[in-house]
């Protein structure tokens, strides 16, 4: 089947899409956007988090066909040109990246949190990031990054 979806503001088209494949697979393998990571494929790890019509979701749990005609924003769509989004910059500044695999999902989840709650408490940060696992267990620096981003905005 053919899939039409707007990704990071650009209308995109993918052909020969198998209806049961995930939006994550479409993004990575068909549209050349490997920022969203493929790990657990069951919604446990959050590494594939993207905005679907402005709502953060695990793209591994969205059937490709469910994205037809929708807006998707991936981690690749957060920066403006060469200027990183404040959340991305704060992850760099805080050293909140170890192996980096969980980072794109955490950046999108943190981005959504700060849009809704510009000055989150630590409890709110933990709650908002509860669906994102860091296998290096670098959570302290990640919390620092979100606090820094909140102060910067």
């Amino acid at each position: 089947m053919r899939l039409n979806v707007t990704v990071n503001g650009r209308p995109r088209q993918a052909d020969d899409v198998w209806p049961g494949e995930s939006l994550l697979y479409v993004l990575r393998e068909r549209l050349g956007l490997p920022g969203s990571k493929n790990a657990c494929e069951q919604g446990e790890c959050g590494s594939c988090t993207v905005y679907l019509d402005d709502v953060p979701v695990c793209s591994c749990l969205v059937a490709a066909g469910q994205a037809e005609g929708r807006q998707v924003r991936t981690v690749e769509g957060l920066a403006e040109g060469d200027r990183l989004d404040p959340v991305q910059q704060s992850f760099v500044d805080a050293g909140a990246v170890q192996c980096g695999f969980c980072t794109p999902g955490l950046v999108v989840a943190a981005h959504d949190l700060l849009r809704r709650t510009p000055r989150p408490s630590d409890e709110e940060i933990r709650e908002a990031l509860a669906g994102n696992l860091c296998r290096c267990t670098g959570y302290e620096k990640i919390l620092d990054a979100v606090r820094t981003a909140a102060d910067a905005s």
Binding site: E41, Q42, G43, A63, Q66, D112, A130, G131
Partner: protein, 292 residues
């Protein structure tokens, strides 16, 4: 595999009648896991996210209000829009997965999957919810108590879809509690819901993930109705709370599995029963004018 994309409920029901083997998909939080892991290859997916009617809720007019919650309303909206009217359901919804999962998962999907561990089932049982199901043959309301028929089995006919849940607005304290290995992203080891109805001196209690289906603990409910000192201010006797916990544990039929042992589930449910009863009773004391 075909991908069916109805945009109205009538189209969805017609598609399900024509293709009973089509698997309905809404948030995808269960169905996509099965597809990703090659555990299931249905002949077709029936995408319900394009059916706007399913993503709405409404309140019936009249004094004892009833909420009709569309099957496709995600948990995040249950929490933010219905926390006051349906406190028990909102509590259970808050324990589902993570923000990403709550943004997609739905009560309709919980019912369609009918896992014994589904988080909203105990609440649907204690609130007297009725499940609205529809087909091209018509619509019927199934009491939640009759909806769960076995492990991951429900009362749906092959051509039917869950369209909504009808829940009375809370008339007293409601509680939900769940045991898991952390405070997020856990399938319940066991779960428990309690609803008190002080005006009728009645109580309902239900367990999850501790029997082949979610189920009510009827003897424990009867005990509360008879023994709770309705109308008398003050804390509850420890012996009453303990006995309630024992009766809840006796209503279980748990198994040993990867998430926990049967003995642990029995024990934990007795603890959850005592705790939620204490919380609900304290809540009731604060509401009661006699304590003001």
């Amino acid at each position: 595999m075909d991908f069916l994309r109805p945009t109205t409920l009538d189209e969805a029901l017609a598609a399900k009648a024509e293709r009973p083997g089509a698997v309905p998909i809404a948030g995808g939080t269960d169905v996509m896991v099965e597809l990703n892991f090659d555990h299931r290859r249905p002949e077709a997916l029936l995408d319900l996210t394009g059916v706007g009617e399913l993503a709405e809720w409404s309140r019936s007019s009249g004094s004892d209000g009833e909420i009709r919650l569309g099957a496709g309303v995600p948990y995040t909206r249950v929490i933010t829009e219905l926390g006051g009217r349906l406190p028990g359901l909102a509590m259970a919804s808050r324990t589902v997965g993570s923000p990403q999962i709550r943004n997609r998962g739905t009560v309709g999907g919980n019912l369609g999957s009918a896992s014994p561990a589904g988080d909203t089932h105990p609440v649907l049982l204690v609130t007297g919810a009725r499940v609205e199901v529809a087909s091209v043959r018509g619509t019927r309301l199934i009491p939640a108590t009759e909806f769960y028929t076995g492990v991951k089995r429900n009362a749906l006919a092959p051509d039917e879809l869950v369209t909504a849940v009808h829940l009375p607005e809370a008339t007293g304290p409601q509680q939900f509690a769940k045991v898991g290995t952390r405070n997020a992203m856990v399938i319940a080891v066991c779960s428990f819901a309690l609803a008190l109805d002080p005006d009728r001196a009645a109580a309902r209690a239900a367990i999850g993930s501790a029997a082949p289906t979610p189920r009510r603990a009827v003897a424990a409910e009867r005990f509360l109705a008879e023994e709770l000192p309705w109308g008398t201010p003050g804390p509850l006797r420890d012996s009453l709370k303990r006995r309630f916990g024992e009766l809840v544990a006796e209503a279980t039929e748990p198994i040993d599995d990867v998430r926990g042992t049967a003995a642990y589930r029995r024990h934990a449910l007795a603890v959850l029963a005592r705790r939620t009863l204490t919380w609900a009773w304290n809540d009731q004391q604060e509401r009661s004018p006699s304590c003001a």
